[in-house]
């Protein structure tokens, strides 16, 4: 995170981007500290990719300013910015070997061939692809191509690395391994990583801080804990993880809305509800959805509102709840788990 007085690695100052009548970015400001792992999370069309393209130099703000290392980059072309991108489709050069792909920035910088190959091999080792230099990109798997793209973007040690949906095209298992590896790589290199994703798990799992984008604005910017435990808006609460949005009137509180995580809810039979402390809402148990480690229960509250509760698969309470499908049930939760939302 940015130390006192330190110059941010990347900063956007009230950046707006219009495409004709469409406003893709609406007055965005944020600063990313040197060596920070910064995530930009949002649904498609929320402006996060436009932001990334502006930092890379593929797009310019309609108004506002982009700064890299404290210097306004204005309409500086991509090839003059100290930032490299790992593209979503990897964008490896199909006519070059893996080693030549990785050494591309060095070839452009006219580094002698022998030196360039040595450094390519070193960088390939770093991403666990030692010995793959002679192959063509078409002979690699998706995960391997991703590593080549990573090596190519890291070989000349840029101060900022931009990643566009870096794990989007990988299968689940690989994605989880790669998350951990990216995080380790970032820590050991100390380079600022800025990445874009629509996957909340990725954003929370890798980032030091996350900016949640919606409709061209940043809804909330904070640590993963901030975002998950103290969502600033209904959008953040429901987009990052799932949440029940509860009207204050329903639980006899002020006219305020609250977010409640389904995993903070317990389900008990109406007969024993008075024995359990906490706020209670009664309703009908409609459906149970198997999610692997958890089961997600759908309820219709007495007022007709939909409500969700997530219980750990195999727990006593979960087994009991599954036995009550189609019957009356009571949802119980602590007042402390209600997160007030800005209206």
């Amino acid at each position: 995170m940015t130390g006192e007085g330190a110059v941010p690695a990347v900063e956007l100052r009230s950046v707006t981007r219009r495409f004709g009548a469409v406003i893709a970015l609406d007055g965005i400001s944020f600063a990313v500290g040197g060596g920070e792992f910064f995530g930009m999370l949002g649904p498609s069309g929320s402006g996060k990719t436009t932001c990334l393209r502006m930092i890379a130099g593929f797009d310019v703000p309609s108004t506002g300013e982009v700064l890299i290392a404290g210097r306004s980059v204005g309409d500086l072309p991509p090839y003059e910015r100290d930032a490299h991108t790992v593209f979503q489709d990897y964008a490896l050069f199909p006519h070059m070997s893996v080693a030549d792909n990785v050494a591309f920035p060095l070839m452009i910088a006219k580094v002698p061939q022998a030196q360039r190959h040595a450094r390519a091999e070193e960088t390939l080792e770093r991403v666990k692809l030692a010995g793959f230099g002679k192959r063509k990109p078409s002979e690699l798997s998706g995960g391997q191509r991703q590593r080549v793209a990573l090596a190519r973007a890291l070989i000349d040690q840029p101060s900022v690395l931009l990643l566009d949906e870096p794990l989007g095209a990988l299968d689940l298992k690989l994605r989880e391994d790669m998350q951990r590896e990216l995080k380790e790589l970032q820590r050991s290199l100390g380079i600022t990583f800025i990445f874009v994703t629509h996957d909340q798990g990725e954003a929370l799992g890798m980032s030091d801080r996350v900016a949640v984008f919606n409709q061209g604005r940043i809804e909330q910017l904070g640590t993963p804990d901030d975002i998950y435990d103290r969502p600033a808006s209904e959008f953040v609460a429901t987009f990052v993880g799932s949440a029940n949005v509860i009207d204050g009137a329903l639980i006899g509180a002020a006219p305020q809305r609250f977010a409640l995580r389904p995993e903070r809810v317990r389900l008990v039979a109406p007969g024993v509800a008075q024995l359990v402390p906490g706020i209670k809402l009664s309703g009908m148990l409609r459906d149970a959805q198997h999610l692997g480690a958890d089961t997600r229960f759908s309820l219709a509250l007495d007022g007709g509102q939909a409500f969700h509760a997530t219980l750990r698969h195999g727990d006593e309470e979960e087994i009991a709840a599954r036995g009550r499908l189609g019957q009356a049930i009571v949802a119980v939760f602590d007042r402390g788990d209600l997160k007030p939302l800005a209206s």
Partner: protein, 311 residues
């Protein structure tokens, strides 16, 4: 009515079922007409041509002697005929190189920079000449390049007559006027075959993913370096395909050199002359085999140089 329709559907269905389980039968059915065409008419005539070139003509009677031998080829390699071959090859080489230099920037602009509207207009502009008669366009060029034609009038009115005079005074390629010099022949060849050079290069460029260009810029390559290291290697097959068109079309053409340029013959004209009044069909055949051989060598060299590696 309904019963009939059902019957028709029934027999159609039987045919469909029969052919679905026998893909080889369907393939045979589909390929039979083109195979007959290619095998009998196309390759057959080509073989007849090839065979004809090994016969020779009796010098006294003018009758074709149907004996296999190389005497016709000996005649082909006499200095006068070699002149024709060399002249055609040199012209084809110049036209091919020039077409590549003109088509790449044009295709680059159409594929990467022009907006959708301008792209459609330019694309039509490239194709439009192909919709009108080739002969009409060549004769139009005769007027454009004539001594008192559009080019010399335009050059005269901007005071550039000296440049044209200088070009016409050059040895070999010069002449009394643009329309009777090799410069004129070259210009018209280049104009006529240009679409065949642009289209494959353009197609190759359209297949280059835009993110590759973004990646090149992102990794430090200025536009010139990105062009050299990323674009050119990826469109070489397109350039090679275009060059095969321009080279072979120039090599075999007999109309343009007959209308524009000095009297000496090109291969196509020689073929025309020998199979017509002269009645020397074997020599005409040998002249026709020459471009085939030249192109075979050309393709072999292009492949050796890796022109098709990125295909």
């Amino acid at each position: 009515m309904t019963a009939k329709a059902t019957a028709a559907t029934g027999s159609l269905r039987r045919i469909a079922t029969f052919s679905y389980s026998r893909p080889g039968f369907v393939l045979l059915l589909l390929l039979l007409p083109p195979m007959l065409w290619l095998g009998v008419i196309y390759l057959g005539s080509l073989f007849a041509l090839f065979a004809q070139s090994f016969f020779h003509i009796d010098e006294f009677s003018g009758v074709i002697v149907r004996e296999v031998g190389l005497s016709t080829y000996e005649e082909l390699f006499t200095p006068a005929n070699m002149d024709i071959l060399l002249r055609s090859m040199t012209m084809a080489a110049f036209v091919t190189v020039a077409a590549a230099f003109v088509s790449v920037p044009l295709a680059l602009y159409i594929a990467l920079y022009a907006g959708p509207r301008l792209k459609a207009v330019l694309y039509a502009a490239v194709l439009l000449p192909l919709w009108s008669s080739y002969l009409v366009r060549v004769y139009a060029w005769k007027l454009i390049l004539a001594k008192e034609g559009i080019v010399s009038w335009a050059a005269g009115s901007v005071g550039a007559q000296g440049a044209i005079d200088w070009a016409l005074n050059l040895p070999v390629v010069g002449g009394p006027s643009l329309s009777t010099s090799y410069i004129g022949t070259f210009v018209v060849f280049l104009y006529i075959w240009l679409p065949y050079a642009i289209l494959p290069v353009h197609a190759a460029l359209e297949r280059v993913p835009r993110t590759l260009l973004d990646a090149a810029a992102d990794l430090g390559a200025r536009p010139g370096a990105a062009f050299r290291h990323v674009i050119v290697p990826l469109i070489v097959p397109g350039i090679a395909a275009g060059s095969i068109f321009t080279f072979s079309l120039t090599l075999g053409d007999y109309i343009i050199p007959g209308i524009i340029g000095p009297p000496p013959l090109f291969i196509g004209q020689a073929v025309l002359a020998h199979q017509g009044a002269a009645g020397n069909l074997p020599l005409a055949a040998a002249f026709s085999v020459a471009p085939l051989a030249i192109l075979a060598v050309y393709l072999f060299v292009a492949r050796r140089l890796g022109a098709f590696d990125a295909l």
